[in-house]
Amino acid sequence: MVSPTCLSATVDATKIVEVAQKINSLGFDHVKSVTATDFLQENKIDIVYHISSFLNIELAKVILELRTSLDRQDPKIHSLIDIWPSAEYPERETLDLMGVTFDGLPQKERLFLMENFEGFPLRKDFKIKTEGIDA
């Protein structure tokens, strides 16, 4: 018998909260990671939530990825910390390094970088200042 361990769901960014509530009611109780990917040519940023379960042993073997894509000029999405509190720090990291705005996050200042840091270093068009000066 083959059981699926990796599931993928791609949703529209406006409906992510409804879908997340539905997934939560199925028994998926925590977010493992929140990742963002920058697609410079296609002018979009993809967000991936990896969701799994602790309490349900059958679902603990499964990792569900919830994908959505955002406009690169103004990446905005509603935060999922009301449904899964473990998403708070990964979402803050994504805000810090990728510049994706999460509505509903309680703290929106820099997490890892200096407070006076300018730009979002994991975006493809981020220019490092020392680049090309020394070898």
Partner: protein, 173 residues
């Protein structure tokens, strides 16, 4: 004023005596003894920034025993005179390294450890690293990723030779 209430003559004598003493200390026989003493009492502060800290700890383990060279790792910043930059230095940690360096008493020495502390290493050209020689006056660089404890000892011995040959900077006042 600390000299308030004392006779003016005594204060003048004392100032002159201190001036003379400072001159004598800088001269050859006493200064070489002083440098010899400093070279065998290097106390690195406990300031671990990256994975090189594991090799740094192994240097002071019984097998390599850096204490035979008079090097003793210590926790108090104000009792130490050596700071090891152990591996990569992020921008946030660079601020802390500067504060720790400023708290140490003179004369003080900086050793940069590992490839990351020389030119970034695997984090070369990253958005978040600082090369230690841009913010602190580094006395010796130790190569390796991470350096072996023998390498760390070599760096310490080189620093000791440098202190004995070239002397140490004197505080101004």
């Amino acid at each position: 004023m600390e000299n308030e209430g004392r006779p003016q003559k005594l204060t003048n004598t004392r100032v002159a005596f201190e001036k003379a003493l400072r001159k004598i200390i800088k001269r050859k026989p006493i200064s070489s003894i002083r440098n010899w003493g400093i070279s065998y009492s290097l106390w690195p502060v406990h300031f671990t920034t990256a994975c090189c800290g594991a090799e740094f700890a192994a240097t002071f383990s019984p097998r390599f025993d850096a204490e035979r060279f008079g090097v003793l790792p210590f926790v108090g910043t104000r009792q130490c005179n050596v700071i090891f930059i152990e591996g990569t230095l992020t921008k946030k940690m660079a601020e802390a390294a500067k504060v720790v360096y400023q708290q140490m008493p003179e004369p003080k020495f900086v050793l940069a450890m590992g490839a990351c502390a020389i030119d970034g290493g695997i984090f070369w050209n990253s958005y978040n690293i600082v090369r230690p020689h841009e913010i602190l006056p580094v006395d010796a660089f130790i190569t390796g990723c991470p350096p072996r404890p023998e390498g760390v000892l070599r760096g310490l011995i080189m620093t000791q030779e440098k202190i004995r040959k070239r002397g140490t900077p004197y505080p101004e006042s």
